[in-house]
Assembly symmetry: C2
Homo-oligomer: 239 residues x 2
């Protein structure tokens, strides 16, 4: 790979429930090989992953967590419904493990940019399947990453990471390879799908309405799924 | 920003102690505005941040941690010397907070790709100062990020992050801005320097000998330092 080029897909309409997002993306994508990074929010909207807070009745646990986190109890109920477990609660933040196994704030349930002030946007039910549906329309030689914007322990600021993939191995494994001097490489596994998501995030700019970024110049190979990116809890030191 | 373009700097020699890395990078960089992402390892080598393990006498604590982590006690002594504190120890891994405040495996002390099998490569003493020295040679309108390859909790695989910056604000703050429909943005702070480091990491490829990547098309503004990227321990939920 000698050069990477990233461009936003132009001309996408505002996406809503029932829109044929894979078809819209395939029509807007340039020809040739490449990786399309798509922001989770438009995938979720197209898939109708919206919950009106007016229809949510918060449980006692949601009310208790909402008080500790200083959040709307109905929002917290939606977060709990999307979660396998709650790792941390503090003012302004609830860190959850989603049913997919993702660990992130509010189980990825977002209130911003939603169609209406009182609507929560949930993560796709199966982001790998969402990516595969888009990839089917893009055709061969083209890969898809669904990205979302996560915080991290220890570091300020957010970066985009992959929450679903199709048509590329999310990890790039250098095991058995050597450096230029022939010594075995010790850093053996790069999170290729997360690198691509982070790179695309630079162009997504939160106020620009650019939910899909086309990346040319990446060697893609193999296939895989979100599960490849999730550390076995038994091997995790920070739960 | 409508397009991002990333290219490796070509023609750099193998870097060793005392080499004028800022001068070599400035000579190899294309003209015009851009961000240069430089891998920590070449910065450390040029700055002579090398420790021969044969000269290291491990302390009892280093021996004890080395046994728990299944590592060379001399390597662990170098790691301890570079650390403010140790967060976790497990087979194969010691997670430390460095004197800079970075939290990462082995305090960033690396044995791979070092000149000789028994030499540890330490992080730069002051990566922001290293970045500033490079930026002075690049000239105005050009920014520098020093990157290193870190693991993360919860997710498999490594990504590059910024450990030093010059000529750009490492955080991009959207507070007070609105989305296309005029609603306030809730995701307000992106880790711009980490996004750039991750993007450059795609082209650095661990076996290609490409320690410097030139990125064009990024709006850079402001200035800042590594400290902007480090979360206040009091506000951190995962120490």
């Amino acid at each position: 790979m000698n050069e990477l080029r990233l461009r936003p897909l132009e001309g996408l309409p505002e996406i809503g429930p029932g829109d044929d997002l894979p078809g819209l993306l395939a029509a807007a994508a340039p020809p040739g090989p490449g990786v399309l990074v798509v922001a989770q929010k438009v995938v979720s909207k197209a898939e109708g992953r919206l919950v009106a807070l007016s229809a949510v009745e918060p449980s006692p646990r949601a009310r208790e967590l909402a008080a500790r986190a200083d959040k709307d109890p109905r929002h917290v109920q939606v977060v709990l419904d999307a979660s396998r477990s709650v790792l941390r609660v503090a003012p302004g933040v609830i860190i959850c493990e989603t049913h997919h196994g993702l660990i992130c704030a509010n189980a990825g349930v977002d209130m911003s940019n939603a169609p209406g002030d009182e609507v929560a946007v949930l993560l796709p039910v199966d982001p790998d399947a969402s990516a595969r549906r888009i990839r089917e329309r893009l055709g061969p030689g083209r890969a898809v990453v669904i990205s979302d914007t996560f915080g991290r322990p220890w570091r300020e600021g957010l970066v985009d990471v992959a929450i679903g993939v199709a048509g590329l191995a999310p990890l790039r494994d250098y095991a058995g390879e050597t450096d230029r001097r022939g010594r075995p490489l010790q850093v053996t596994v790069m999170a290729r799908a997360d690198q691509l998501a982070a790179a695309a995030g630079i162009l997504m700019e939160k106020n620009a309405g650019r939910p899909a970024i086309w990346i040319e110049g990446v060697d893609t190979f193999g296939d895989g799924s979100l599960a490849d990116l999730l550390r076995d809890p038994e091997r995790d030191l920070f739960r």
